[in-house]
């Protein structure tokens, strides 16, 4: 198991290096990054000053070495708009994004797994149809539309929840529910189909025949086995969750990394976009690593492969 964990973390470090290269190239896609970084009203003098200051007059390999050196110190340069180091801006806002993502994930799991189990258990009944249509319509709804509908119903008309912003748990409800829509349908459908597979296995019949209670069969014997692929998917979906966070944070003016990224893209604030790309990618890689380790713990055969 330990060897497996070390190997898995080693792979993650390699992926992070790849991310660093992509982040570096992000700005160089444009022939001359200086034009991306400066507004059109800039004078020739301003353009030349920036080119020198950023080291863009150096050969590409030199620039890359310089970039990696700064990156290892967590230095992406100062934001062009905010008069503050880009990394600091990201870290200030990361807690809000994590709070929202975890809440969204929790709601998705709390809704999707019981529904998935239940739908499989009552296969081809009205309940199953209801759960499946819930998943299909959830998947079909664009989340920004869903978010705005929630605002109109619960905030503007019923006036029971705040429209936007942050600060109290009431503020968290609508954005977290919106974000959970990104995940719940997939997890629910996967849980259902895995449970159906597992429930047809011999050992389930054995468990039933030796008199295990139906609750025990479902949750201890079946769900633990079905959970293996569900956990893998949750890890993979972490990136999707971050994508959903961009939309959700924007709709609800949630003060997280994603709103910062959106306004930084609009402002061509590249240091912030680079820092955010890098840190978010690391989070996604980390989430996947954790998911893999959990799967290995659920199914010891995996780490022995």
């Amino acid at each position: 198991m330990r060897a497996f964990i070390i190997r898995r973390i080693g792979q993650s470090v390699l992926v992070c290096l790849g991310v660093a290269v992509v982040t570096f190239l992000l700005l160089r896609i444009a022939h001359d990054p200086v034009y991306v970084l400066l507004p059109p009203e800039s004078t020739k003098e301003e353009i030349e000053t920036l080119r020198k200051a950023m080291g863009f007059d150096q050969p590409l390999p030199v620039q890359f070495a310089f970039f990696m050196g700064r990156l290892l110190q967590g230095d992406f340069g100062d934001s062009f708009v905010m008069a503050q180091p880009a990394s600091q801006l990201i870290w200030e806002r990361m807690p809000a994004t994590l709070e929202l993502s975890l809440a969204g994930m929790a709601i998705a799991l709390a809704v999707a797994i019981p529904l998935g189990v239940f739908a499989a258990f009552r296969r081809n009944t009205l309940i199953d149809t209801f759960c499946t249509s819930f998943a299909v319509s959830g998947q079909a709804m664009p989340i920004f539309w869903f978010g705005i509908m929630l605002i109109i119903i619960f905030a503007v008309q019923l006036k029971v929840l705040p429209v936007s912003g942050s600060g109290t748990y009431l503020h968290l409800i609508l954005p977290a529910v919106t974000l959970s829509l990104n995940l719940a349908p997939i997890i629910m459908r996967l849980t259902r189909s895995r449970m159906l597979d597992v429930l047809n296995q011999d050992y389930i019949r054995t468990a039933r025949s030796k008199g295990v209670l139906e609750r025990g069969v479902l949750f201890r014997h079946a769900l633990r086995n079905a959970a293996i692929s569900v956990v893998t998917i949750i890890g993979l979906q972490f990136g999707r969750l971050m994508g959903g966070a961009v939309v959700t944070e924007t709709v609800f003016a949630w003060p997280g990394v994603a709103t910062l990224v959106v306004s930084s893209i609009y402002n061509a604030d590249f240091p912030v976009v680079q820092a955010a790309t890098f840190y978010l990618a690391i989070f996604i890689v980390a989430a996947n690593t954790v998911a893999d380790i959990v799967v290995a713990w659920l199914d010891p055969r995996i780490s022995r492969r």
Partner: protein, 515 residues
Amino acid sequence: MRRFAAGCAPALAALALLLAGWPGASQAAKSDDTVVMALGSPQPTMDPRDHRARVGIIKDWHVYDPILRRDSRTGKVKPALALSVKPVDELTWEVKLRRGVKFHNGESFNAEAVKYTIDSMKDPANKFLNRGNATWVSEVVVKEPYTVHILTKKPFPLVEELLTAILPVPPEHAKKAGKPGMAARAIGTGPYKFVSWKKGVSLVLVRNDDYWGEKPAIKNLVIRPIKESATQIAELLRGGVHVIRQVPPDQAEFINKSGTAVVKSAPVLRVVYLQIDQAGRDSRSHKALRDLRVRRAIAHAVNVDAIIKHILQGRAMRSATGISPLAFGYDDSAKPPKHDPALAKKLLAEAGYPNGFSVTLHTYSGSVMAERQVAEAILADLKQVGIETKIFHFDNVGVYTKMGTGGKRGDLTLASWGSRSIFDAHQILLPIFHSKDPLSYAKVPALDKEIDAGVSTVDAERRKQIYARAQKIILDEMLAVPMYGQHEIVGVNKDLEFEPAGDEILRLYEAKWKR
């Protein structure tokens, strides 16, 4: 994102009807004397010297005072921290300052504060983003405790205009606090005082009861960043936010019918125009555009009045020359090209294109209101006379990238220009029509000469004549199809008395609760 609001309108309206009549009062904060304003992006910094963001300028005008201030109603520049600004000779301007003004930390405002602010702004070592608003100054000389002489590098007609963009900071505090300290906390002389700032969440201000000028009627002011237009509108209807800006024109009627808020608009300096690659400055451009008859045909084909009426719901101001009618130097006597598709077809035939040809049209989001609809309307108008158009749409970033790579964007560009809130024709003529500027598509030596003359002449009457000639050249050569000046469209809570101004700076210190 912002565009999404448009698609939402019918759904919003239907739901509003469906759920109408639900009990519950609006959260109007009249009782605790607090106005909340939502702006489209977060505050970049508290230091007015270190940003060029619109949302930052709006905040600055509440916490700091400009040296001269533009009157929100007349649009004229009037005294603020300066009592008078007069030329002594061609290169020297005498600025007499108001006495007895104090910064919020108790420091006195005086000539030293003005000198320090301008000197620190223009010092390249400080790398302030707003440096451009001070580079016209060659030196600031303190004459008396409340008098400074501002020296310019060459005769410069825009001194008074640019003094509205310089907001003095307290020198003692600024030296002690340094760049990070000034970025984190705002200390000015303005009508509101800084209370707290939670980045990306809210900026809280409170009335400065010792203000030298007319004190604001509203005690507390909160500024919140909300990117999404649909969310801003929802907050406005709920009463959680009292003022929003950049309302999409097609949402105006919906807000007016809500009963919680109304829409107000004011003509602003930003103009929209259709640039034509007259000189073939992009090698990919169609050579037909180098023919004046073809350019005239395009101008006669586009129905600008219909765009204003149907897409902008009348919230725009026709420009005959491509320059904002609000800018100094705009030629009132000029007439815009008439909408005349028959004439356009005739001109095309004369130029040797009886069956038309194909062009590209570039536009971008961020500043041109309803840019997609406007571009599509132009496409339809051009199709009527036989010209096929292919539209390319960018986000703001893309425009810069494209400029960096190719310099130019091809045949036609639907663009806007805000002139950095300087109400003078020079501010658009130089970047958009002078052959030496990277954004310009024009290459007309006679026009370059007029533009150069305009900025080195101080006499107002002579400058007007110069700019009238420049605008005539633009129309004669049809360098751009003149379109319209945009409106600032704001949503305002119905309990609040507030009007937007022509320079896109919302002045909440002028707002009042309705009795």
